[in-house]
C-alpha cells in the first residue's frame, strides 16, 4: 500500500483525530495527501461512518492551526533568514520592496493558496509571517480560504462517494495544473515586461 492508501486505512480506523493531526502537519508544510483524506472523509460521511459537520468544523480549525504555526515560524524565526535573503538580493531596499508587495497582495494570495493552488500554502504562511503581514488579516483570509477548501472537498467526496481514489487523482492533477498555469502566467508577465523595456521609446 502506498502512503495515500495507508492514510485512508488509518482514517477509516481512527476517524477525526487522525484527520486533524494529518491536516495540521500538512498545513505546516509536510507533503501529505490531505485533499484525498478530505474527499474520503466526505465519502465516509455519506456512508454513515463519519459526521460531515464535525469533519468540516475540525478539519477547518486544524488547517487554520497548522497555517498559523507556519505564520509564527515565519514571524519569529524569519529574521536570520531575512538577513540571508537581503544579502542574496543585493540590498535591504529590495527586500523591503518585496515585503511591501507581499503586504499589498497578501490577502488574495493567502485566500487562493488555501483552496486553489494549495501546494504554495505553507510557503505563503512562512512568507506572510516573515514579511510582517497583519496577523488578524492573515487569520481572516486563512479561515475563509480553508473553510471553502474543506467544504468543497468534503462535499465532492460526499456526492461522488464511490470514487474516492479517482477523485483524489482529479484533485491532485487539477491543483498542480493550476500551479503550472500560475508559473506560466508569471513567466509570461516577466517576458512582456522585458519586451516592453527593450522596445525603443
Amino acid at each position: 500500500m502506498n502512503l495515500g492508501e495507508q492514510l485512508l486505512g488509518a482514517l477509516a480506523m481512527y476517524g477525526l483525530p487522525l484527520l486533524c493531526a494529518v491536516t495540521i502537519v500538512a498545513s505546516v508544510g509536510v507533503p501529505l495527501p490531505i485533499s484525498l483524506l478530505l474527499i474520503a472523509a466526505g465519502s465516509f460521511a455519506d456512508h454513515g461512518e463519519m459526521n460531515a459537520p464535525a469533519v468540516i468544523a475540525f478539519a477547518t480549525l486544524s488547517a487554520v492551526a497548522g497555517d498559523n504555526l507556519g505564520f509564527a515560524i515565519g514571524r519569529w524565526g524569519g529574521r536570520r533568514l531575512a538577513a540571508r535573503i537581503s544579502r542574496w538580493m543585493g540590498s535591504e531596499e529590495k527586500l523591503e520592496h518585496a515585503e511591501a508587495r507581499i503586504r499589498h497582495w497578501g490577502g488574495p494570495g493567502i485566500f487562493l493558496t488555501r483552496w486553489l493552488i494549495t501546494p504554495l500554502g505553507p510557503f505563503v504562511n512562512l512568507v506572510s509571517g516573515f514579511a510582517g503581514y497583519s496577523w488578524l488579516r492573515f487569520l481572516i483570509w486563512d479561515f475563509l480560504g480553508e473553510l471553502l477548501w474543506v467544504v468543497l472537498y468534503v462535499m465532492v467526496g460526499n456526492i461522488f462517494s464511490h470514487q474516492v481514489e479517482a477523485l483524489g487523482s482529479v484533485s491532485s492533477s487539477a491543483t498542480w495544473a493550476a500551479v503550472a498555469l500560475l508559473v506560466s502566467f508569471l513567466i509570461a508577465w516577466k517576458l512582456y515586461q522585458l519586451r516592453r523595456r527593450a522596445r525603443p521609446a
Binding site: A12, H47, H162, A166, S173, A180, I187, R197
Partner: protein, 108 residues
C-alpha cells in the same frame, strides 16, 4: 531569430510550464471521466460498510463472505482484517467480489 531583451531560456520555461499544465489538465479530465464510471476496484484501505454501500449489497452478506458475524460498527479496513486473520488481502478481496457477484441484482 532571438528578439532583443527576451532571454531564450525564459521562453523555453514558458513553453515547458504551459505543456506541463496541459498534461496535468488532461490527466485531471481523464480521471474525471472515471468518476462517472462507478467501477472503483476493491482496495485494502476500504471498510466493509464502504464496500457494501458503494456496491449496494447488504453488509451482512460481506461479513459472511469474510467468515465474520455482522459488525455494524466495525470500521477496520479489509487490509487490517486480513492481517488479523493471517490471510493475504487478495483472498479477502476475491471472497468479497464473489459474494457481490452472487448477490441478486434486485436486492442491490
Amino acid at each position: 531569430m532571438r528578439k532583443p531583451g527576451t532571454p531564450g531560456w525564459l521562453r523555453i520555461a514558458l513553453a515547458l510550464t504551459l505543456a506541463l499544465a496541459g498534461v496535468l489538465a488532461f490527466r485531471a479530465f481523464h480521471f474525471g471521466n472515471r468518476v462517472h464510471a462507478n467501477d472503483e476496484p476493491i482496495r485494502p484501505w476500504m471498510t466493509v460498510p464502504y464496500i457494501a454501500h458503494s456496491r449496494h449489497v447488504p453488509q451482512g452478506v460481506l461479513w459472511g463472505a469474510l467468515g465474520l458475524p455482522a459488525h455494524l460498527h466495525d470500521h477496520r479496513p479489509i487490509g487490517a482484517i486480513a492481517r488479523k486473520q493471517g490471510r493475504p488481502v487478495a483472498d479477502l478481496i476475491s471472497s468479497l467480489k464473489s459474494a457481490i457477484e452472487h448477490e441478486p441484482k434486485d436486492s442491490r
